[in-house]
């Protein structure tokens, strides 16, 4: 059995088992529902044009603006209709717009003359989106690398705990075991994200946000390679952490550094997303690059060469961590007496033919 075939078999088993795991299926469905809800609901909830009460004399321009007008005999009746909640707003003599607590923009606009607007930077992004999009990217990376990283660690511990690892190691190269798990984790993670992205994009198109789709397109396209490498980086750490312990209960102790390596960059990106200098730095640091760099691309202040440099840095780091993780994995896989220290695992690898 060569390493390649063994890797394929191991990955296939991991995926098959995971696809039958109820927790995994439910969490995927929950993600999809959230993605659909977040993109479709706003347009459903905003509920079309405001209803407005006005006397017949004032109703003309409001109708032209496409508002739902309810004609009332006088201004007092109009005000009462607002107070009763029958309409969103009323237009009374002056003209004055009456509303309960929220100025109805469409009514105001219908009554104002607007100066012509010429946008000098038509691509600039809505400030709400500049907050939401980085948060979404960082969140997806956080949740996914966490979920599937833990899954890799659990699968490694399960094999150690049940000792089936001895049979496996006798049959196939240790590298193939690790590679198969990493491959399965990556495929499942990407698959889940792709599904969520598909639903989200469909939802946006359905909700009439086609413009957003074209704006997000490149950022999402770049997110994929960054995500892939970032995932390998984090998953390597999870694999090493899993190999160091023998029981699922003990994973907490060794997973702290991994958790920090995921959480700190997450909060840094979320909280510093409007600090250009900090974001530039974060977009080159391998642990935060997967979320920070696509975000800078989205806000339009990353040059193309920067993306490649950052990606190259991430690639080198990911390979380094993968090799280090593999070494720790090989060094501790067969140590079944309590917890192995990283140093022991690093030094005392069995040298097998």
């Amino acid at each position: 059995m060569n390493t390649f075939d063994a890797t394929r078999l191991v990955a296939a088993r991991e995926i098959r088992v995971k696809l039958r795991d109820r927790t995994f299926l439910i969490s995927t469905i929950v993600f999809l529902v959230i993605a659909a809800g977040a993109t479709i609901l706003p347009s459903l909830l905003s509920g079309g044009p405001s209803t407005v009460a006005a006397t017949e004399a004032a109703a003309g321009p409001l109708r032209e603006a496409g508002l739902q007008v309810r004609t009332v005999p006088d201004d007092a009746a109009a005000e009462q209709a607002v107070r009763d909640g029958d309409v969103d707003a009323a237009v009374v003599a002056g003209p004055v717009v009456l509303a309960m607590n929220d100025a109805p923009n469409d009514v105001v606009n219908a009554l104002s003359t607007r100066p012509p607007v010429e946008l000098l930077n038509p691509d600039a992004v809505d400030p709400t989106l500049t907050f939401l999009v980085p948060f979404a990217f960082a969140f997806i990376f956080l949740i996914t690398s966490q979920t599937f990283g833990v899954q890799i660690a659990q699968s490694i511990i399960e094999e150690k705990q049940t000792r089936i690892v001895e049979i496996l190691v006798a049959a196939v190269p240790v590298r193939a075991l690790l590679a198969g798990k990493m491959l399965a984790g990556t495929i499942l993670a990407l698959g889940q994200i792709a599904l969520v992205a598909l639903v989200a994009l469909t939802g946006m198109a359905f909700g009439g946000n086609d413009g957003l789709v074209s704006l997000l397109g490149p950022a999402i396209g770049w997110f994929i390679p960054f995500f892939l490498l970032g995932f390998v980086l984090i998953a390597s750490m999870w694999a090493a952490a899993g190999a160091l312990v023998n029981r699922l209960e003990d994973i907490g102790g060794v997973s702290m550094p991994v958790q920090l390596a995921v959480m700190l960059p997450f909060f840094a990106v979320v909280f510093l997303s409007d600090n250009v200098g900090a974001m530039r730095l974060l977009s080159y640091l391998p642990f935060s690059a997967p979320t920070a760099m696509p975000l800078r691309l989205f806000t339009g202040d990353a040059a193309l060469w920067e993306l490649f440099v950052s990606l190259a840095l991430l690639l080198v780091t990911a390979i380094g961590f993968l090799l280090a993780g593999a070494r720790v994995y090989e060094g501790s896989l067969l140590r079944t007496n309590g917890r192995t220290s990283v140093r022991t695992a690093w030094r005392e690898r069995e040298t097998l033919g």
Partner: protein
């Protein structure tokens, strides 16, 4: 065609964990077509030896050869191994994981499926094949473990305590399966601390204590070489006169029944004649020592 020289050979194998040497110059043969029992106390080095054979651990010195060639990963892939501490995937069905292990050992999907079905039927798990492993009784999990070791029709079998946790019926089933494999020409090495089971099963025996091989060879050879000649005599009346017989040292005397050892070079026939001179002899036979006795003797 396998020949008698088809042998799994350990040659001068050393292994230490830290500064504790657990295997000292371990050498023995496991011959094709024979069941070799591997016995030793807890911590004697049985499991470490088996792990080294399977390449799960590396030897510090010495080597393991199969058919005269040092073991490679490819060769080990055709071995069947049952580790001491049991475990398969608790949340996978028996059939599925046995197929998976067959495939990891290089079987095609179709061959793995066929072999698994045959094997599960053979060891009495056919009905439970689609159940998750964790829902099976311990004894049935043990059977599944045997299936996992045999699914790829291995050239060599290395089984660490294959009978622990099995009821007598299951032991018989597994023994029959292992004998078949041995008869088909595979060397079978199995460890056990149940000396009576080993005694019943093995053709050859390897005894290890404190990481060193104390005795190795066929069961009969060991019996012959590791015991002083011992006889049991049953007569009509008191057998106390044996005390004064030259070359005889009494081991046990119970009225008309006596067990005695003969000094080296002494013959048992004069003793029998002396007994017949005194009256009828109801029984006179050599006492073959049990494996437990040999074991106690060589490991002391």
């Amino acid at each position: 065609m396998r020949t008698v020289t088809t042998v799994l050979r350990l040659d001068g194998v050393d292994r230490s964990f830290g500064d504790r040497q657990v295997l000292k110059n371990v050498s023995f043969d496991v011959v094709a077509g024979r069941m070799t029992g591997f016995v030793g106390g807890n911590g004697a080095g049985k499991t470490t030896t088996m792990r080294i054979i399977l390449g799960v651990l590396a030897a510090d010195a010495g080597q393991v050869t199969w058919q005269g060639t040092p073991l490679s990963r490819e060769a080990r892939g055709r071995f069947g191994y049952m580790p001491e501490e049991r475990g398969l995937y608790p949340k996978m069905s028996v059939r599925e994981q046995v197929i998976y292990l067959g495939r990891l050992h290089g079987l095609t999907a179709e061959a793995a499926r066929r072999s698994t079905d045959t094997l599960l039927d053979r060891i009495g798990l056919g009905e439970r094949g689609d159940d998750l492993l964790e829902t099976l009784s311990l004894g049935n999990q043990q059977r599944a473990q045997i299936a996992a070791a045999l699914v790829h029709d291995p050239e060599v079998l290395v089984l660490d305590e294959p009978f622990s946790g099995l009821d007598p019926l299951a032991v018989d089933t597994i023994v029959a399966v292992l004998r078949e494999r041995a008869a088909a020409g595979a060397p079978v090495l199995f460890s056990s601390h149940q000396l009576d089971v080993v005694e019943r099963l093995c053709d050859d025996l390897v005894i290890i204590a404190d990481g060193a091989i104390r005795a190795a060879g066929s069961r009969e050879q060991l019996r012959a070489s590791y015991t002083t000649p011992r006889y049991e005599l049953v007569v009509e009346t008191d057998a106390g006169w044996l005390r004064d017989q030259p070359g005889v040292s009494l081991v046990d005397l119970d009225g008309a029944r006596a067990v005695f050892d003969l000094a080296p070079g002494s013959d048992e026939q004069p003793v029998l004649r002396a007994a017949l001179d005194r009256g009828p002899v109801r029984a006179f036979r050599p006492v073959t020592p049990s494996l437990a006795e040999i074991f106690r003797e060589v490991t002391q």
